[in-house]
């Protein structure tokens, strides 16, 4: 099965604010100027929770703009008003009205309006959610998919695949330092803290590819700790789930067989697992179906034979200080064979 390559939401699809067309279009215009991709943006929501937050955001932006303009206008008037005329501008009533009564009323209303939103978003998912576990590592993501009984069906990395229209509950934790799991198009962020497991629930509404990124500073390569979420139709997801649960595909050509043998003989299995082979390391990402993923190196490179080669030979230049050494010992053909093997692990 050939996985979709990245297909970010196109500009035409940018689903900016459904309820605030005017302001939304203004900001959209600005964002278009800057080249909006919208695959990692809080204001292009693709789940009910993120939509609710975007709605709150627009209310906040518009309210703030109105208040800001009013306060600036008052200041301007105070600067030019002649003392004595229009005495209200210097009155105690202005201080009490503007500084006390207005904010108390406005903020109380705002609090009531937003109070339930957070609760709704953290409530346990209704129905039959897909359960996954995401574990942060310096600097990549381990993703475990649970079956109906709550057992781990298979382990993947740096990519979360979800069915459209079904809630997903991610239990997030960490193997080392604090990270934060964040896919802005789908949900707010939730920290991954040693000793704790936090839950976040979301539900993709439209198929698409979204980017997530670590949002808590976690050391040298915090900047290069990203991943992709691929939302697809349930049938397609089910086929994918079934396939991923199985072992790695056997090499189909001598060249790829050579790649596999080199992979195993060079010690790659000390850190990586490829189910169905002796490679069973747990330090780095599970590579059983690495060829089916959108990206490699935690959302840093597109996934094809060229980038795989580059990564194996130059991982320390591409992502300095990451835990994988640069394997610059391979001859060109050997390197290509290993990369071809990994690419074949669809």
């Amino acid at each position: 099965m050939k996985a979709d390559k990245r297909h970010p939401i196109t500009k035409a699809e940018c689903p900016f604010g459904f309820r605030w067309p005017v302001a939304a279009s203004l900001v959209t215009a600005f964002l278009l100027l800057t080249g909006c991709d919208g695959i990692q943006a809080a204001l292009t929501p693709n789940s009910p929770g993120a939509e609710r937050i975007a709605e709150i955001a627009w209310i906040l932006f518009i309210g703030a703009a109105v208040i800001f303009i009013a306060v600036m206008a008052l200041t301007l008037y105070a600067m030019i008003a002649r003392p004595g005329r229009g005495g209200w501008i210097g009155s105690g009533a202005l201080i009490i009205g503007g500084g006390l009564i207005f904010p108390v009323v406005t903020l109380s209303a705002l609090l009531i309006y937003t109070l339930d939103a957070a609760g709704v978003m953290t409530a346990p998912a209704e129905g039959n959610p897909l359960r996954i576990e995401v574990i942060g590592h310096m600097w990549w993501w381990e993703v475990r998919y649970l079956d109906e009984d709550g057992n781990v069906a298979f382990v993947s990395a740096n990519e979360v695949r979800v069915p459209v229209g079904r809630p997903v509950t991610a239990a997030v934790s960490t193997a080392d330092v604090i990270h934060s799991f964040w896919v802005p198009n789908l949900a707010g962020k939730i920290d991954m803290i040693p000793g704790r497991v936090n839950d976040v629930t979301f539900q993709a509404e439209e198929p698409g590819t979204f980017r997530g990124q670590c949002a808590e500073y976690c050391g040298a390569q915090h900047a290069k700790m990203a991943f992709f979420v691929v939302a697809e139709e349930p049938e397609r997801f089910a086929r994918w789930f079934e396939h991923q649960s199985g072992p790695a595909r056997e090499p189909q050509t001598p060249f790829i067989t050579r790649g596999r043998d080199l992979f195993l003989s060079s010690g790659c299995g000390a850190c990586h697992t490829v189910r169905g082979t002796p490679a069973a390391g747990r330090i780095g990402p599970d590579l059983t179906h690495v060829g089916s993923r959108v990206s490699i190196a935690a959302g840093i490179l597109d996934n094809h034979i060229g980038t795989l080669e580059a990564w194996i030979a130059n991982s320390q230049r591409i992502k300095p200080e990451n835990r994988m050494p640069s394997f610059d010992v391979f001859e060109g053909e050997d390197l290509r064979a290993i990369a071809a093997y990994l690419e074949s692990l669809k």
Binding site: A41, A81, T114, L115, A187, G188, D191, E321
Partner: protein, 839 residues
């Protein structure tokens, strides 16, 4: 009104006053201790750190100007952003507002100096030396790289094995001590050295703000001192406070850090706001509208700011209910700021403000700060924060609040108050350009970051991919940062061209302002100390400047031939006594250098030189203290108006007693933070407190320790009474009782420690043990300090420097002693009774 002193004044009176306040010349100027000099050094050093940290910011902006840039590598960038934040917070923002206070407050409240000049000098030099060494760690790639918030476990020994993090923990921990020293000085200065008649309701708003500021340092900084202490113990000795597998919790750090970190924002903002409250009336030439409301707002902000720390932790998965509480509190804190904004607008509306440079900065402040306040309300809303937390939206928000709320008022203040220090004013023409560049540059740099954040760009990333749509916005931000930098550069040029500080009173009152710092003054501040009957004395009290300058008010010269100021009562400012103050001195400076060297050598793991420097620092402190507590060396002095003031008092009237009490509040807050740590760790270890394999010992040992602590307190109480009766019975009863107290407290501590040790409890195995040993260790620190103080007090007695009247030294030792015993009893009760309660 009849003024206290008649004219003409004796011919040599002014000469004697000037002689007493004579400053050292040439390079010896660094031994100066009076607030005018220390204040200017302090402000200058803080501005130096602003420039250095600003250069780091420009380098970071250069790196981020284009995607996938390789101008800075990840290691350098991570050190830069850590140092930028740390320096801006700890080496620029807090010190500069404290420095402005040191410089302005005595002038503003009509005192000749702050009450503890050498303490100011100590605080300044400790900060300057420590800060510069800390900065230089960058040149050796030893600068901390865990972020200014230093979250463990990233910053603990497993993931940051180098000494970079230790530079942060020891360096910053030490600079916090300097901030606290300054805060104690400011509290006592504001409450006890105000001019006669300046009751609290006539205290300028700036004085109120600095009082709240200092109070917030007293209660806020101890939390960060406590957590840096815990993390350093974890790094150095593997006491697992923050290691989940051993019963610790990384969130303990976050609670303690933000319990300090959030008030920190208001610690910086309140003085800035108060500068605005001083400048706006001068620009509008009318009194401040809503004085009482503003004071109320300042105090309310101080209180509320301690109830919002969790809004930095909305994404950590805390229960919904507590998030809602902190969300509401975070919104509530917007109200006091709103009151202030509308009071300023009302003041402007009452007058006819002139667009001088300070006024431009005030308008810029209003523009930027109101925007920052509005985004502040946004991030107080939990779900919205889940999206923008740790993105560039937040970077934009807090730069709007901090640069808007503090840097713009500070630059207004520089232009406004420069005439009090310099013989020439800063240039109005350059000032407008400085403002224009800073305002445009700031908004260009930081406004786009709101959008960058909403488009998903996280903070603290050294690079970003090209296809994210962040390029243009980042390029704009970088351009803006350079424009802002150009504005600050132009300000420095203005300073070089026009700032001529001579310490001789500056260049008059160009803004025709109404408060006391604009009276004619010299190094001794004003010639005589006025009676205050209004909030804007220069406006309300006719002929005040001439009468003060001609010496018709209190203390028109020096009564004892030394430096003096009048100590007044805390609320209604009635004159109480005359405080004799020290002149130039090397001891405070050398003690500060020694302390800084001690911490820095410890950081680079050179224990022996560190100890030598530490001993040297203690020796210098002792030498400095030895000349304090002078006793009634002079008979009561006439200050004019028929008022005769004693030159020495003890007990609760004494300024030294007040300072000691404030210090104990700091101390108690650190202890409370450690107690909080104990209870917090209990909550993360439900049902296993103590952990399996650890038995609670019998109550016999702790009961014995408690009894011994109490007995040592009784011995000191007896010594106090014996000292009062020393005229009749000699000094020996006091000396014996004081000496007896020492073994009692040492035995108490030893028993408490032995009890835990023999029960097999070790601090490095589980957070339970670590929490207990840190409480006992803190108690041990007090026992060690009191051992020194008891020896010092005995030495004073043997040298004949202690008697029933001259006993401030004894009183301070006694206060700390009783406090230590109380702390020890609480610690024992928590350690031994609490686990039994929850079993």
């Amino acid at each position: 009104m009849k003024l206290p002193n008649p004219l003409p004044r004796p011919a040599d009176e002014l000469d004697r006053l000037e002689a007493a306040w004579q400053q050292p010349t040439g390079w010896r100027i660094i031994s100066a201790v009076n607030n005018t000099y220390i204040g200017l050094f302090y402000i200058g050093t803080a501005v130096l750190f602003l420039i250095l940290a600003g250069i780091l910011a420009l380098l970071m902006r250069t790196q981020l100007a284009v995607p996938e840039n390789d101008f800075l590598d990840q290691g350098t960038y991570n050190q830069f952003f850590t140092m930028h934040g740390t320096m801006m917070m700890f080496l620029f923002a807090v010190p500069v507002v404290e420095a402005m206070g040191v410089y302005l407050l005595p002038n503003m409240v009509g005192a000749r100096d702050l009450p503890f000049p050498r303490l100011s000098a100590y605080a300044y030099w400790a900060y300057a030396v420590g800060g510069i060494v800390f900065f230089c760690s960058l040149f050796f790639e030893l600068a901390p790289d865990g972020g200014w918030f230093m979250y463990p476990p990233l910053t603990s020994y497993m993931y940051s094995p180098g000494i970079n993090a230790d530079f942060w923990l020891l360096g910053i921990g030490f600079i916090e001590i300097s901030a606290i020293a300054g805060a104690i000085e400011i509290v006592v200065g504001i409450l006890r050295t105000r001019a006669p008649g300046m009751s609290l309701d006539k205290l300028p708003v700036y004085g109120w703000a600095m009082l709240v500021f200092a109070g917030m340092i007293v209660f806020g900084f101890p939390a960060v001192i406590a957590c840096t202490m815990l993390l350093e113990l974890e790094r150095a000795f593997h006491w697992p406070f923050f290691i989940a597998e051993q019963g610790g919790d990384p969130l303990l750090w976050q609670h303690l850090f933000w319990f300090f970190g959030h008030p920190e924002v208001y610690i910086i903002f309140l003085p800035g706001a108060a500068m605005v409250s001083m400048i706006v009336p001068a620009m509008a030439q009318v009194p401040l509208a809503g004085y009482r409301w503003i004071v109320l707002a300042l105090v309310a902000t101080g209180f509320l700011s301690f109830g919002l720390w969790v809004h930095h932790m909305f994404t950590t998965g805390l229960p919904q209910l507590s998030l809602s509480f902190f969300s509401a509190a975070s919104m509530a804190v917007a109200v006091p700021s709103g009151i202030q904004v509308f009071a300023w607008i009302a003041t402007l509306g009452r007058g006819r403000p002139k667009l001088h440079t300070p006024m431009l900065f005030i308008l810029g402040f209003l523009f930027i700060f109101v925007l920052g306040g509005l985004t502040g309300v946004m991030v107080a809303i939990v779900p919205f924060d889940w999206q923008v937390h740790d993105t560039y939206f937040v970077v934009a928000h807090f730069h709007y609040v901090l640069i808007g709320g503090m840097v713009f008022p500070l630059f207004a203040a520089f232009y406004y108050w420069a005439p009090t220090a310099s013989d020439t004013q800063l240039s109005e023409r350059l000032g407008r350009w400085v403002f224009g560049l800073m305002f445009v540059g700031f908004n260009l740099a930081f406004f786009p970051m709101h959008i960058t954040g909403l488009l998903g760009m996280p903070r603290r990333v050294y690079t970003y991919p090209a296809e994210m749509g962040w390029d243009t916005l980042n390029m704009l931000s970088t351009a803006g940062a350079y424009v802002l930098g150009a504005g600050i550069l132009l300000f420095l040029i203005d300073l070089m061209l026009n700032f001529r500080p001579t310490g001789a009173g500056g260049s008059g009152n160009p803004w025709k302002a109404g408060t006391l710092e604009w009276l004619p003054s010299g190094l001794y501040q004003t010639r005589s100390i006025p009676i205050i009957t209004s909030r804007e004395p220069i406006w309300e009290q006719p002929n005040l400047a001439e009468d003060v300058e001609s010496g018709r008010y209190f203390l028109p010269g020096t009564a004892t031939g030394q430096r003096e100021t009048i100590i007044t009562s805390a609320v209604d400012a009635r004159p109480q006594y005359l405080l004799m103050m020290p002149g130039p001195s090397w001891t405070a400076m050398l003690a500060a250098v020694g302390t800084a060297a001690f911490f820095m050598l410890l950081t680079v793991k050179l224990p022996i030189p560190a100890v030598i420097c530490g001993v040297f620092a203690v020796a210098m402190v002792v030498a400095w203290l030895w000349s304090t507590d002078p006793g009634p060396a002079f008979p009561p002095q006439d200050v004019g108006g028929g008022i005769t003031l004693p030159v020495y008092v003890t007990g609760s009237t004494s300024h030294s007693w007040w300072a000691m009490v404030v210090l104990l509040l700091v101390d108690g807050s650190i202890f409370a933070s450690l107690i909080f740590a104990y209870f917090f760790l209990w909550t993360v270890n439900p049902g296993t407190w103590p952990p399996e394999g650890v038995e609670l010992s019998s109550l016999l040992w702790p009961a014995a320790a408690a009894a011994l602590f109490a007995a040592s307190s009784a011995a000191i109480a007896y010594a106090s009474r014996a000292l009062a009766a020393a005229e009749r019975r000699g000094q020996w009863p006091m000396r014996i009782a004081l000496t007896l107290g020492v073994p009692l407290m040492i035995a108490a501590l030893a028993i408490a420690l032995y009890d835990q040790w023999q029960a097999g409890l070790r601090p490095s195995e589980h957070a339970y043990g670590a929490a207990i040993y840190v409480l006992l260790g803190y108690q041990g620190f007090h026992v060690a300090v009191l051992l020194l103080m008891a020896g010092y007090t005995l030495a004073r007695s043997v040298c004949g420097l202690l008697d029933p009247v001259r006993r401030a030294t004894f009183d301070n030792t006694m206060l700390l002693w009783h406090y230590m015993v109380g702390q020890g009893l609480v610690a024992l009760a928590v350690i031994h009774l609490f686990p039994r309660l929850v079993e």
